[in-house]
């Protein structure tokens, strides 16, 4: 997921993501995806692929984590642009809510996220390289 650059886009993204929580669970991923990529067919394609591959139980788990992450992501970006903390915080919060061991959540969430990235790419999205995105989180983007 790319980080919106301008404050106006960040606020807009936050509002969309917060609004998305009131939508049916099955739309969370697609809505959040559209707010970032602005490509509904690609996002719907990726969500369907993900749903089919993961199966209902795993897909619902990922949706539940993602709903927490998107809210936290918007809050972290608003505050200090820290997406990595949002990710870690969401895993911790999800683990508490779901009664799962944090270590287990740290295992499957990145794995499902890799599957999600692949689905997005297979559906035609241009997704930043994982290594590059992680580097940018630490070193910042080029000026």
């Amino acid at each position: 997921m790319t980080i919106p650059k301008t404050p106006a886009r960040q606020i807009a993204a936050a509002l969309v993501l917060l609004t998305s929580l009131t939508a049916q669970a099955s739309d969370d991923l697609t809505i959040a995806c559209v707010s970032e990529l602005a490509d509904k067919p690609v996002c719907e394609c990726a969500t369907n692929k993900l749903d089919s591959f993961l199966g209902k139980e795993n897909f619902d788990k990922y949706q539940a984590f993602f709903a927490i992450f998107t809210v936290r992501h918007a809050q972290q970006i608003e505050r200090d642009g820290d997406s990595l903390s949002a990710w870690n915080g969401a895993m911790s919060r999800y683990a508490k809510q779901a009664g799962e061991e944090p270590f287990d959540v740290m295992g499957w969430v990145p794995e499902f996220e890799s599957v999600h990235r692949y689905a997005l790419t297979a559906c035609g999205a241009v997704v930043p390289d994982e290594g590059l995105e992680q580097s940018l989180l630490f070193f910042g983007e080029a000026r």
Binding site: G55, E111, S114, Y118, A122
Partner: protein, 135 residues
Amino acid sequence: MSARATGMVLAVAVCMPLAGCGSSYADDGVTQLCREAAVRQPDSNMDPGKDCACASEKLQDFLTDDHYELLEGYSTLLVDIAIKNPDLRGREGYDRTLAALAEQRGESVSEVSNALSAGGPLRFVRLAEQICRDR
């Protein structure tokens, strides 16, 4: 080499000295490799018949055609090489499979290796098998 790839190579290579290994299968390479690994890892609780067919179908639906073709080529070669070379172990088996696949495709070993891991296929095989086993 990823832990999964190591596991897969070891799972197949370990069997080779034992009797009964190396039977032929009519399914595609991906199913075949899954079945070989499931038989040699009885603790995995995989049902080779149902779960491997499920995993192959899931991967075929999920991966792009190019990636699935690559994965099938890799799987078929790995099983073939393991059967014909019962003394092969671990990393050597994987390296030989990569080299054979690269030659078959007219690509470099690093290109094939990157496509298998960074591009997706190998990374999702274990997950697909696990999802099918747990459903």
